[in-house]
C-alpha cells in the first residue's frame, strides 16, 4: 500500500498544536511507517511553492491548525483545501477561533494602534505601522493584510473533520490519526474526540446542588480539593464544555476554561456557560444579584474564551 501523504500547517496559532502532534509519543513511529509528510513548515524544509506545484487532491489529509486572521492564512487555507482530499481543522484555533479569536472584541486598527503606539513600553513617536506593501531600494516588499475579523477554518473553506482542544490531548490526536491511517473515517463534519458528554462527567470532584453567594477568581481562594470548583464560586467551564480531556484542569485544582468547545449538539458554548453560571446564583434580590455578578469581571471573554469567532454573535461591533 502506498504511504498516505500528510500535510501539517499552522495559521494564526501559538505553536502548541505542533507540539501536541508530537505528544503522541512512540505512536509517531507508526505514523512515520504509514505516512509520508509532504509539507510541515515547522519541522521540514518545504516551501509554499512546493505545495502550489502539487496536483489537486494529491495530499491525502491535511491537519490545519490556527485561525484565519490575515491574507496569508486565508491563501494557505484555500491552497491546502484544493490540494487535500481531507482537510482537518486541528485544535481550537482552526475549529472555533480560540485565543486569537478574542481579537474580535476589537478591530485591526485598534489592535495595531495598541501594539505599535499605545503600550507603555513602546517608543514610536513617528507612529510607524506595518503596511501591506513598502518600497525599499531593493524593490517592493509585501506583508500579509491583517484582517479586522478572525475567522475559523470552517468559515473560510469547507472542512471535513474537527479536532477540539487547546491543544488537543494525545488521545484525541491519536483518534484522528488512527482514523486516517485505518481509513475507517466517521461521517464528514464529525468533531473527532473521545466519546463523552461534558467535562463534569469526567471530573472526580464531588458535586452537590449548586447555590453560590459569590464568584471568586482563582488567586482569591484556596479551593477545597475534593468539591466541585463551581460550587465553590470559581468560574469553571466544565458544565458547558465537551469532555475528552479527562478533566485535567479541575483535577489539578484549576477551573476548566472550555478549550474542547461546546458539548455535542450545542453551537454557542459561551451563551450556555452564561446561562449555567447565572442560574446557580443563590439570590432573588435584584441588587444582590448584581453584586454577585460583579464577581464575573469579564463575562464575554470568559464564556467565549475559545469560541468567539464561532459564536452566534462572532464579533463586537465597533463604533465607527
Amino acid at each position: 500500500m502506498p504511504k498516505l501523504k500528510i500535510a501539517l500547517y499552522w495559521a494564526a496559532s501559538c505553536g502548541g498544536c505542533e507540539i501536541a502532534t508530537l505528544a503522541i509519543g512512540d505512536k509517531i513511529l507508526r505514523l512515520a511507517e504509514a505516512a509520508e509528510i509532504v509539507f510541515w513548515p515547522v519541522a521540514i524544509d518545504t516551501k509554499y511553492a512546493d505545495v502550489e506545484k502539487m496536483a489537486d487532491n494529491s495530499i491525502d489529509a491535511c491537519l490545519f491548525n490556527g485561525a484565519i486572521r490575515n491574507s496569508e492564512n486565508e491563501h494557505m487555507a484555500r491552497l491546502l483545501r484544493k490540494k487535500s482530499k481531507i482537510l482537518i481543522a486541528y485544535g481550537s484555533c482552526s475549529y472555533e477561533g480560540c485565543i486569537p479569536g478574542l481579537a474580535n472584541f476589537f478591530n485591526a486598527r485598534a489592535i495595531l494602534e495598541n501594539t505599535y503606539c499605545e503600550t507603555a513600553s513602546t517608543d514610536n513617536p513617528a507612529k510607524t505601522m506595518p503596511q501591506p506593501t513598502v518600497i525599499v531600494p531593493e524593490g517592493e516588499l509585501d506583508l500579509p493584510v491583517f484582517y479586522d475579523t478572525v475567522k475559523t477554518l470552517g468559515q473560510t473553506v469547507a472542512v471535513d473533520y474537527f479536532v477540539p482542544g487547546c491543544p488537543p490531548e494525545e488521545s484525541t490526536t491519536w483518534l484522528a490519526l488512527e482514523a486516517l491511517l485505518s481509513g475507517n473515517l466517521p461521517p464528514r463534519g464529525t468533531v473527532i474526540a473521545p466519546p463523552s458528554t461534558a467535562v463534569c462527567n469526567e471530573c472526580p470532584r464531588i458535586k452537590h446542588e449548586k447555590k453560590i453567594k459569590a464568584f471568586h477568581r482563582t488567586y482569591e481562594i484556596v479551593p477545597d480539593p475534593d468539591i466541585c470548583l463551581l460550587e465553590q464560586g470559581i468560574l469553571c467551564c466544565g458544565v458547558g464544555t465537551r469532555g475528552g480531556c479527562g478533566a485535567l484542569c479541575p483535577k489539578a485544582g484549576m477551573p476548566c476554561t472550555g478549550c474542547y468547545g461546546p458539548v455535542e449538539g450545542v453551537r454557542d458554548q459561551g451563551s450556555h456557560l452564561l446561562s449555567a453560571w447565572a442560574s446557580i446564583i443563590d439570590s432573588n434580590d435584584p441588587d444582590e444579584i448584581k453584586n454577585i455578578l460583579d464577581g464575573i469581571v469579564d463575562p464575554a471573554g470568559t464564556a467565549y474564551r475559545y469560541s468567539l469567532p464561532a459564536a452566534m454573535i462572532n464579533r463586537a461591533r465597533m463604533q465607527p
Partner: protein
C-alpha cells in the same frame, strides 16, 4: 432612515405576559406592530442563546417579558430569568450591542396597557438606534 421599521422579537411567558399581550389586543389598545411574539411556558425557560440567536437572525431588538417577581406560575422561574438576563446584558455590552436593544420587564395578565407601553418604548428606542447588523465583513471599521 425614515422607512426603517424595527423587528422586535418578544419572548412572552405563557401565564402572565402572553395574556397581558392578549388583553392589550382584546381591549383594542393601540401598540406598535413591530413585535414578533414567541410564547414560552416561563421566562425561566429563556436561555441567553435565544436572544443571541434572535439578533443573529436579524432582530433589531429583543424583549423578554415574565410575571412580576413573586407571581411566577412556577414560583421562581422569573428570578432565574432575572439572573440570566442581567449577566447577558453585561455580555451584550461587551459585544457592542446597545443597551436599548434588549429589555427584560414584567407584565402581568391584567396589564394590557403596560404591555403596549413597553412595546412602544422599545420600538421607538430601536428605531432611533437604526438596524442591527450582526455579521459584518472584514472591512468593518
Amino acid at each position: 432612515m425614515n422607512d426603517f421599521e424595527p423587528k422586535i422579537v418578544a419572548f412572552l411567558c405563557n401565564w402572565c405576559s402572553y395574556r397581558g399581550a392578549d388583553l392589550a389586543g382584546t381591549s383594542r389598545i393601540k401598540c406598535a406592530a413591530n413585535v414578533r411574539a414567541i410564547r414560552v411556558m416561563c421566562s425561566g425557560r429563556i436561555e441567553p442563546a435565544f436572544i443571541l440567536r434572535a439578533f443573529e437572525l436579524g432582530a433589531d431588538g429583543v424583549l423578554v417579558l415574565g410575571c412580576h417577581p413573586g407571581d411566577c406560575h412556577y414560583a421562581e422561574g422569573n428570578y432565574k430569568a432575572l439572573r440570566r438576563m442581567e449577566l447577558l446584558k453585561r455580555t451584550l455590552a461587551q459585544l457592542g450591542i446597545e443597551e436599548d436593544r434588549f429589555r427584560l420587564d414584567w407584565v402581568s395578565a391584567s396589564e394590557g396597557d403596560k404591555f403596549s407601553r413597553v412595546v412602544n418604548e422599545i420600538t421607538e428606542k430601536v428605531r432611533q438606534l437604526g438596524p442591527y447588523k450582526p455579521k459584518e465583513g472584514n472591512k468593518v471599521a
